[in-house]
């Protein structure tokens, strides 16, 4: 693993510790609630921000090997960098969908 990847993995890992704890607290708060309550909870600013940060940080933590290594951004063009794999693409799409959902809940749309 490149040193930069190692560092990004560690950074996202450290950031994820409080975010994971917060996620667990949020999910416990959502259990058994009806839809209206869930919308209100997930739409509230602090919860929405936490969820957004968790989704983005976790997604990056999973695919840090490939993120940012596109043509032009990475001078070395090693083999690993040339092929973003299916998991990477899937996570980006899943992450974007989640961000959209959270924003939709926050803005009450």
């Amino acid at each position: 693993m490149a040193p930069r990847v190692f560092w990004h993995q560690r950074l996202t890992a450290v950031a994820n510790v409080p975010l994971t704890i917060a996620l667990i607290v949020i999910v416990i708060g959502l259990m058994g609630r009806n839809h209206a309550a869930v919308v209100q909870i997930l739409g509230s600013t602090l919860v929405a921000l936490t969820m957004l940060l968790f989704i983005v940080t976790s997604a990056y933590h999973i695919v840090a090997r490939h993120a940012g290594h596109h043509r032009g951004l990475c001078a070395r063009r090693d083999l690993e960098a040339r092929h973003p794999d299916a998991q990477h693409v899937l996570l980006v799409r899943v992450g974007l969908a989640a961000v959209f959902a959270i924003l939709k809940l926050s803005f009450g749309l």
């Binding site: 708060g29 899943v94 809940l105």
Partner: protein, 138 residues
């Protein structure tokens, strides 16, 4: 001629593989760390499904609520909780190692055991709290 060839092939030494290693706890937890990481990928899909269903409307969210009532749903949620906490504690263990601490023969075993006991204990604790918040087992 063919017999000589097969006996030569059978006599050829094979390179040793995983089976030559005694399964130490640190080794097992290392691969478990990777496996929990993989499981968390699917856990993220579950989480995102819940979020999208909540954003979509009450009908979509009703399927989430139904799933969480089933035994399978609860088992998956329990597994996700454990995978999340075990991966987190394992990650903290790796961060401790990154700083250079805990490499001694006693400390590294203790760290590894603590990761496992901690993850099981915390998962059970979290689920007890969750059920208490919900007002008992429903």
């Amino acid at each position: 001629m063919a017999e000589a060839k097969t006996s030569r092939l059978k006599d050829r030494p094979l390179s040793p593989h995983l089976q030559i290693y005694k399964p130490l706890l640190t080794m097992m937890m290392s691969i478990v760390h990777r496996i929990t990481g993989g499981a968390l990928f699917f856990g993220m899909l579950l989480l995102v499904w819940v979020l999208i269903a909540a954003a979509a409307g009450p009908n979509a969210y009703a399927s989430v609520q139904w799933f969480m009532e089933t035994l399978l749903g609860r088992l998956i949620l329990f597994g996700y909780t454990w995978a999340l906490i075990h991966h987190m504690l394992g990650g903290i263990k790796h961060l401790i190692w990154d700083l250079g601490y805990g490499f001694g023969p006693v400390e590294r075993e203790w760290l590894t055991v603590a990761t496992l006991i901690g993850s099981i204990g915390l998962t059970v604790l979290i689920w007890i709290v969750g059920y208490l918040v919900m007002g008992g087992i429903r």
